[in-house]
């Protein structure tokens, strides 16, 4: 599983950092998404997928 994040689309709502804190954080400068773990273990898949669904700006995706 590979995490893709487009910081240009991100609106800094923080749903990703809230839902999957082991995978996502937010930059201190502008609050946009920072991927902590671009290839997280399978155990984090459910949380990562939930973050993708909840992201309001469509900035996140997962490639298998």
């Amino acid at each position: 599983m590979k995490i893709n994040a487009d910081a240009g689309r991100c609106v800094g709502a923080g749903m990703c950092a809230l839902t999957a804190p082991a995978v996502f954080d937010q930059s201190d400068d502008d609050g946009t998404v920072v991927v902590l773990d671009p290839e997280p273990p399978e155990a984090l898949r459910a949380a990562a997928e939930q973050a993708v669904r909840l992201c309001p700006s469509g900035a996140l995706s997962i490639t298998p």
Partner: protein, 403 residues
């Protein structure tokens, strides 16, 4: 013989009368059964739409072909027409009413101050503010009205703290923002309240330009990208957007819990379920109950309906958050369910900037209140609690409680 004329779904304005305090108007529920994207007449006679389906609302809020610019929007409420001269007086930096890329420019300057991590740092201060108000309630003794003693002052103090607004000025804020959001306030008074808030914040920004603090306004000043009027406008937006919304979640949420002792027990006694519980209250109560509104910039088809360029669309969050296609048993308050994905904070580029702050406030305030007063109860029969039916943000006007 004349044929039966099919019932036209137009020329009907938004139903706002509720039969029960926590449920949206039954008529709106019937509208959703007719169509999740349905015709509705706006106050100026404009034939626009109301959206009551979850999937359609999410799609529209995420779609750049729908604009939030006020000059394109029609107002659904007879007593709140959108007037040209008011628009020209709209404060600069009021980015909730802009589209990208202007919107992006302003929002990005603030998102760094609202991250999940930054909001965690505020939690001890929020807990102190909550404890101070519980102490005051205890000293006063029952009964008290929970709105002025708890629900209103806590979010107001938290936002003042964030912005760096001196404590002594907060009453002026509460009065002005209440005037502003009351749909029954005459337009000129609402505009005067807005002007007063803006003038105050502008003064404050000028003061802070010479004596910087570590607050949000000072941060925007030192970023050096905005004029002081823009910074004041952004401060005004945060105050208006963050105060009355959170206050009504606290007031209405407590009312809902007091009416449902089993759910109240979950919130009070099970710290592990507080996160879920707050999401479910957001979904169930949907206090932003008469919006958001958008205008189509081009013709767009949603759920089989063709929304034409220029037409206004009202997203009815209470209905959307009770869409049976998305949430099982949607009319039931069930703090144990996973309500994630509700649209109580909106969706898309305008999704609530302050949501992590609002969550922190609710997660701290509800359990603290219920633990301090384990015998908390309504001091009047539930049907005597006055509801804010006509207000932009739904909630209770007063909530008399005893313990």
């Amino acid at each position: 013989m004349t044929e039966a004329i099919p019932r036209r779904e137009t020329r009907e304005t938004l139903p706002i009368t509720r039969e029960r305090p926590f449920d949206p108007p039954d008529e709106l529920g019937r509208w959703r059964e007719e169509a999740t994207v349905r015709r509705m007449t706006y106050a100026d006679g404009h034939e626009g739409w109301v959206v009551t389906g979850y999937a359609a609302a999410r799609a529209i809020l995420a779609d750049p072909r729908f604009s939030n610019r006020p000059e394109l929007l029609h107002s659904p409420f007879p007593n709140r027409p959108i007037r040209r001269e008011d628009l020209e007086r709209m404060p600069p930096g009021f980015f909730i009413r802009m589209d990208p890329p202007e919107h992006t420019r302003y929002r990005k300057l603030l998102t760094g101050q609202f991250t999940v991590r930054r909001m965690k740092l505020l939690e001890p201060r929020i807990a102190e503010i909550v404890a101070d108000h519980l102490d005051a309630m205890e000293r006063h003794g029952p009964p008290v009205d929970l709105v002025p003693t708890f629900a209103l002052p806590i979010p107001s103090l938290v936002i003042c703290e964030l912005l760096g607004v001196p404590y002594g000025d907060r009453e002026r804020f509460q009065r002005d923002s209440a005037t502003l959001l009351n749909l029954e306030t005459p337009l000129d008074d609402a505009q005067a309240a807005l002007d007063d808030l803006f003038a105050y914040l502008h003064e404050l920004v000028l003061r802070k330009s010479t004596e910087q603090g570590d607050d949000l306004l000072s941060g925007l000043i030192s970023a050096g990208e905005l004029t002081d009027r823009e910074i004041a406008g952004m401060g005004l937006l945060l105050l208006i957007a963050g105060h009355e919304t959170t206050a009504n979640m606290l007031g209405l949420g407590t009312f809902a819990l007091l009416c449902d002792p089993a759910q109240l027990t979950v919130m009070r006694d099970d710290p592990g379920s507080v996160e879920n519980a707050v999401e479910e209250l957001m979904r169930y109560l949907s206090v932003v109950h008469l919006g958001p509104i958008r205008a189509a910039l081009e013709d767009v088809e949603i759920d089989g309906r063709l929304i034409r360029a220029g037409e206004s669309v009202l997203l009815s969050l209470p209905l959307v958050n009770r869409d049976p296609e998305r949430f099982a048993d949607p009319t039931v308050l069930d703090l144990a369910r996973s309500a994630q994905g509700h649209l109580g904070f909106g969706h898309g580029v305008h999704q609530c900037l302050g949501q992590q702050l609002a969550r922190a406030e609710m997660r701290i305030a509800f359990p603290a209140l219920l633990r301090r007063f384990p015998g908390l109860r309504l001091a009047v029969p539930p049907e005597e609690v006055p509801m804010r039916a006509a207000m932009a943000i739904y909630g209770v006007h007063r909530l008399p409680v005893a313990w």
